[in-house]
Symmetry: C2
DNA sequence: AACTCATATTCAAAAAATCGAATATGAGAA
DNA sequence: TTCTCATATTCGATTTTTTGAATATGAGTT
């Protein structure tokens, strides 16, 4: 991955590189405005766990998500960029994302997986996605 | 370069891949709302001509710029995406771009090069950047 | 036709990104 | 401590992207 040059406030290419990959876009879309446990990403996207982990690390290094540990589980959430311009772009991108068919499907799959009474083996006892407090 | 999958209206990754490169961002920034001749890109960015040409081709394939021939010169201009979401993101990105130091420098260098009475050899007789008509 | 000039393309090498497979880490349970 | 489970990281291989150098194209000029 590219390094953040740090010359200006926010690295444009770093952000766009982060957004230039389907798996990472799907991860961001799933986070939406909730904090999501890694195991749900693996379940919903149906990709190998190390792959999910690697892409989450990429997003972390790009500064767009943050992780929180809870026991053995890790929760990821989006952190909007501090820079105003960057934040606006990022917001628009997420709104755009949300309209794509695959992204819609992913979100409804997440809904099913976490709200259904029949829980997949993999997710027994996993902490469900929790809506984040509106910023303020 | 990635291919446009065509499933949905506009390919997100294709756009972000196009934006995930310094040279291409600088080219877009220089175009702003004017049509610019390739020779000016070469002069202002100070990079080899084939490199400029290749990146312009990339932007063309990504559908964000269009070329117009005028004799032996080629003019490039930005074409905002047809999709409303995409257009908004793209607009925000350009506004953000314009605030970066390097981008500012590039633009002022372009100003100097095309308005100064002392024209570099390379640009003798080259058609100057022309402001595009406001869309409508 | 031949020549010049601006731009585009090809080519092979270098650099970077991505991947699956295996392994490491680190927290809780026993 | 050892064991298990969720997640992270490393490894080497594959694929993709980017590059400089050389060459091709294509329009005007002579």
């Amino acid at each position: 991955m590219k390094k953040n040059s740090g010359s200006n406030r926010y690295d444009l290419e770093l952000l766009f590189s982060a957004l230039a990959d389907r798996t990472r876009l799907r991860l961001l879309n799933l986070m939406g405005d909730t904090e999501v446990c890694v195991c749900f990403f693996v379940e919903v996207l149906g990709v190998p766990q190390p792959k999910v982990s690697r892409h989450l690390a990429y997003l972390r290094k790009a500064g767009v998500v943050e992780a929180r540990r809870e026991g053995k589980w890790m929760h990821y959430r989006i952190i909007p960029p501090g820079d105003e311009r960057a934040a606006r772009v990022f917001m628009e991108v997420r709104a755009w994302l949300a309209e794509e068919d695959q992204m819609r499907e992913d979100r409804s799959k997440l809904m099913n997986v976490c709200c259904s009474p029949i829980v997949p083996l993999r997710l027994m006892g996993a902490p469900k996605p929790t809506r984040l407090a509106p910023e303020g």
